[in-house]
Symmetry: C2
Subunit: 115 residues, 2 copies
């Protein structure tokens, strides 16, 4: 089984990353996108997703925008104005952290470029 262990503490940065790339996303869409990007290996559960999204809203990083598709709500999350700057910082931080893990665990670079 794939170790989801390490993904702990990664959900918030991951959400920021995805919304930063896509412009706006809704909860269910995030779970599907992560599944897709990870070849079905990472499944974000609702109990982790929604509290994380709500926290990001509380922190002022994300704002919401509701859309009604027939009788069903679709709540989009997007970066607030200040959140756009926070995102840059947070993504820089998480990249540094991942690089640190690559270093600590002696991962060889996965892709070799030819000069």
């Amino acid at each position: 089984m794939f170790s989801q262990e390490i993904l702990k503490g990664t959900i918030k940065p991951l959400i920021i990353k995805l919304i930063n790339d896509e412009g706006k996303m809704y909860g269910y869409q995030i779970t599907q996108k992560v599944k897709e990007l990870s070849s079905q290996k990472i499944v974000i559960t609702e109990g982790a997703l929604y509290p994380a999204l709500h926290k990001l809203v509380d922190e002022g990083i994300l704002v919401t925008e509701s859309e009604w598709i027939g009788n069903r709500e679709r709540k989009y999350y997007l970066l607030s104005e200040s959140g756009k700057q926070t995102a840059v910082v947070k993504l820089e931080e998480i990249k540094e952290s991942i690089s640190m893990l690559v270093q600590l665990f002696d991962l060889k670079p996965l892709v070799y470029d030819v000069k």
Copy 2:
């Protein structure tokens, strides 16, 4: 500040990695080694370290070996026989997970090799 956020869930694999490399290590030594390897950026607190070590012992992955330096105990942790095999698996898992993070967060390979 460096984001320790992502390091959550990494302590146990990291301990296994270090002990696997060094043969045996004691608690304090682990904290110092991690500080050193991370250029002082990662500080493992005792409240995280000792419970993690004890858990690894409970799981049968590590065993201990006490040494007395004067009046002071030095408790070495090493891989048990079965732990050696578990270590291989766990380290493979964590590497896969880190690779996944590299992919998800679009990290460029840090080192370029020339053919």
